[in-house]
């Protein structure tokens, strides 16, 4: 039997098919890799996709808001406190146009009306309690500041007059003559430029026969003309100006606060943009650094095991027991003065933040390091570094991505808490934080809720969309959920 094959003549051999060499058929479908699969699974989850889009919008807001806004973060306009949000497009609609509906007494109504802050009167009613008084319900424009006394140098005064003449705008208004009364309280009230009309001692305005208020403009005795300025000392003028016009003259722009202004007349839109930048930048950079440290630490622990693992685990165990709030506080107290509050915050977050990533990576290394393919790689002469980074680490990439994307919102949350509580003090720097804005708005929650509304909405949206997005990503990247569709 055996020898039979040895003596087959050469001619009997021939190629199976010399013309058509056959290959395996190619797959007609495209290969689906790990990432592609994850992305497919992710896009199936509508909620996470929506959250991702919102997240992108919020990040875009953080990037562009400070650029778009004509205000700086710390630009203060003390005359324009607590102005309501205003958008040019909504002018006159009663929504988002800087006006609000106000119920006020007769005196207040006349006061507001006398400098043009009343847009529209809805009703007029009487309230018998405690005395018979007229009340008004009207739309009130918060952007009408009215009159104000300003002091100007001679040169600036000349410029103002020139500006008035060039543009045909009246900025200066007559000074006041309070000689009609000697009542101390009234004299005090007339120090405010908006009370330019006669008052009774109980602050009720006096009307003339036609029912108009009686202005108390100062008149030159000789010429009979209004007096527009007072020379207080050598060539320093004191004027009574329409502040809204004066503002345009001084700054070359109209006051316009998209999200309203706060207690210092600062633009909430610009400040929120700055705070959002800080939050998002801090969140991502902390997550990035923590991943780097965590991956290296966890890889060394998991790969080498033994004594190295034991010692490194003990260090991590102890570090993780320190409540993060204490660590963050101590770092602020110690280093905020030397390296600035934000680097101090960053270091404190990094000090213990990597531990969870390290633990996850370590676990993955324990799972995979004894597997045959690793042995094969080692037999072929792969170095430790190559085995760690090329062969084992890719297995952990899903858990790393998930853990780190959920680390971002937790960092943002902690940062906002710390700046809210005032532990992180950013007043000296030219940036702000959402937490600090919340803290500032808290005092005016009752009468100016818009100050706290926008930062609160922003941080809530940010946290929600980050969490939903992160959960979606976790489901997409977690191979243990593969094939389990609910």
């Amino acid at each position: 039997m055996k020898n039979e094959y040895n003596s087959i003549p050469k001619e009997k051999f021939e190629f199976v098919s010399q013309e058509n060499i056959r290959f395996d058929q190619k797959f007609e479908t495209k290969p689906i890799g790990y990432f592609k699969d994850a992305i497919m699974r992710f896009t199936k989850n509508k909620g996470s996709v929506v959250a991702g889009v919102i997240l992108l919008l919020l990040i875009a807001f953080a990037v562009f808001a400070p650029v778009i806004s004509s205000y700086g973060v710390n630009e203060q306009y003390t005359q324009y406190q607590y102005l309501l949000p205003k958008n040019k497009m909504f002018e006159g609609t009663g929504f988002w146009d800087g006006t609000k509906v106000k119920d006020a007494s007769f005196k207040e109504y006349v006061y507001d009306n006398s400098h043009g802050a009343v847009v529209e009167v809805f009703e007029e009613y009487e309230q018998s309690n405690p005395t018979l008084m007229k009340y008004y319900k009207y739309r009130f424009d918060t952007y009408k500041r009215g009159f104000l006394y300003v002091t100007l140098e001679a040169s600036a005064y000349q410029k103002l007059v020139q500006y008035e003449n060039d543009n045909g705008i009246q900025i200066r208004y007559p000074m006041l003559d309070t000689s009609y009364t000697t009542n101390a309280r009234l004299l005090l009230m007339h120090k405010e430029a908006n009370y330019y009309y006669q008052l009774l001692p109980d602050m009720t305005p006096i009307f003339d026969n036609e029912g108009n208020i009686i202005p108390i403009y100062k008149v030159d005795d000789i010429t009979g003309e209004y007096i527009y300025e007072e020379v207080t000392s050598t060539s320093v003028y004191r004027l009574r100006v329409d502040y809204d016009q004066y503002y345009v003259f001084q700054y070359g722009k109209e006051p316009l606060y998209l999200f309203g202004s706060d207690s210092f007349g600062r633009d909430i839109f610009a400040r929120l943009g700055s705070g959002a930048r800080l939050s998002i930048a801090l969140g991502f950079s902390v997550a990035l650094i923590n991943i780097l440290i965590g991956v290296i630490y966890g890889a060394i622990e998991g790969y080498y095991g033994g004594t190295a693992d034991l010692i490194m685990e003990r260090i991590a165990d102890i570090l993780i027991e320190i409540p993060s709030i204490i660590l963050l506080t101590l770092f602020q107290i110690h280093f905020a003065g030397k390296i600035g509050p934000i680097p101090a915050l960053l270091f404190a977050f990094v000090l213990t933040g990597w531990i969870s990533t390290a633990a996850r990576v370590r676990m993955q290394f324990y799972r995979f390091k004894r597997q045959e393919y690793v042995l094969a790689a080692r037999t072929l002469g792969a170095s430790d570094g190559r085995i760690i980074f090329r062969h084992i680490l890719p297995n952990a990439i899903g858990t790393i991505i998930t853990g780190s994307i959920l680390m971002v919102p937790s960092v943002i949350f902690s940062e906002s808490i710390l700046s809210y509580l005032g532990i992180v003090d950013l007043t000296a720097s030219d940036i702000t934080s959402i937490g600090a804005m919340l803290n500032a708005g808290q005092t005016s929650l009752q009468y100016a809720p818009h100050v706290i509304f926008f930062p609160a909405i922003f941080i809530s949206l940010l946290m929600i969309s980050f969490n939903v997005f992160g959960n979606g990503l976790r489901d997409a990247f977690n191979p243990s959920l593969r094939g389990v569709e609910e």
């Binding site: 102890i318 929650l445 609160a456 969490n467």
Partner: protein, 321 residues
């Protein structure tokens, strides 16, 4: 079990010691700050600092500090918040307020949280479950201070039903109507987060148990769905939830920094913040250590309670027994 507890206690003391050393050094390195409390006497403060060994090298200081704690449980005195009051008294005086608020919060969050979780698990993937899931997501994501502001704005500013801050308890007593009314808002702000936590956890556990084999057996032997759920599924799903409750109960000692600050609850969290603001280092050290101890004890109790609630879980045993 006993051996395991001893081992854990040993590790706990070790961590505690390392953390305490770390905190001590960081705090003592802070710049010197003269007393400013009402009734403070600066000369006396300097003498006191000398007696407490502040002018010695840092390791000697630490020795004195440890010796005072071991022999007299003396953690130093407050120099800023309350002149010369021992810091332990400063803290323990504030403990009742914190516990009071937190206890109410936990008492409402356990039944509501478990109830919602069970309901959601039984209606898995139905509309009720989805509504609850969205609610849980919102409650977990929205920061607690935003919730607190919202509650304050609605119930104090707009409706005027409830006070914005907690009424001081010295005058009106703990259980007077005024006090109870004034803690409704802080209690709810605290509870929102833990309700969401309980709901999410209970739902996850119960859905897993409901699909397990022994539930099929229970139904097969003739139990109704309700019987099977109450007698078998619920009990088994409690295995990881009970330790969570234990953990929550221990952490009622530690006050929430944010809620106590917003609602002016005179508790531990507020004390922590005040000690930072006023740089009262001894108080800060003691409150910090208090938080660390609570964290460690809670973790230990959680681990131990696994063994209590489910005897099948052998904690710390060897490979085979």
């Amino acid at each position: 079990m006993g051996k395991y507890i001893i081992k854990r206690l040993y590790l706990m003391v070790l961590s505690l010691f390392v953390i305490m050393t770390f905190l001590f050094i960081l705090i003592r390195l802070l710049p010197f700050h003269v007393a400013g409390a009402p009734g403070a006497d600066n000369d006396y403060a300097l003498i006191l600092r000398e007696a407490y060994g502040y002018n010695e090298p840092i390791l000697v200081q630490y020795g004195i500090f440890l010796w005072n704690i071991i022999t007299k449980f003396d953690w130093g005195v407050s120099m800023q918040i309350s002149w010369l009051t021992p810091v332990s008294k400063v803290l323990f005086d504030r403990l009742p307020s914190t516990m009071y608020v937190n206890l109410f919060a936990i008492l409402i969050s356990i039944p509501i949280g478990l109830g919602l979780g069970i309901f959601a698990a039984l209606r898995k993937n139905k509309i009720e479950d989805q509504i609850i899931s969205v609610g849980v997501m919102l409650a977990i994501s929205v920061p607690s201070f935003v919730t607190a502001f919202l509650l304050q704005y609605i119930f104090y500013s707009k409706l005027g039903w409830l006070p914005a801050i907690m009424t001081a308890t010295d005058e009106s007593g703990w259980f007077s109507w005024d006090t109870i009314k004034s803690i409704i808002l802080p209690v709810f702000s605290l509870a929102v987060g833990s309700i969401a936590g309980f709901t999410r956890y209970t739902r996850a556990e119960l859905t897993e148990v409901l699909t397990s084999d022994f539930m099929l057996l229970a139904r097969a032997k003739g139990l109704t769905r309700t019987q099977a759920t109450i007698n078998h599924a619920l009990r088994n799903s409690m295995v990881p939830i009970f330790p969570m409750i234990v953990g929550e109960f221990i952490s009622i000692l530690g006050g929430s920094l944010i809620i106590e600050n917003i609602f002016a609850v005179p508790g531990v969290g507020k004390l922590y913040l005040t000690s930072i603001q006023k740089l009262d280092y001894d108080v800060f050290m003691f409150v910090s250590m208090f938080y660390v101890v609570i964290g460690l004890v809670a973790a230990l109790m959680v681990d131990l309670s696994y063994g209590i609630v489910d005897p099948r879980i052998r904690i710390g045993g060897g490979k085979a027994e």
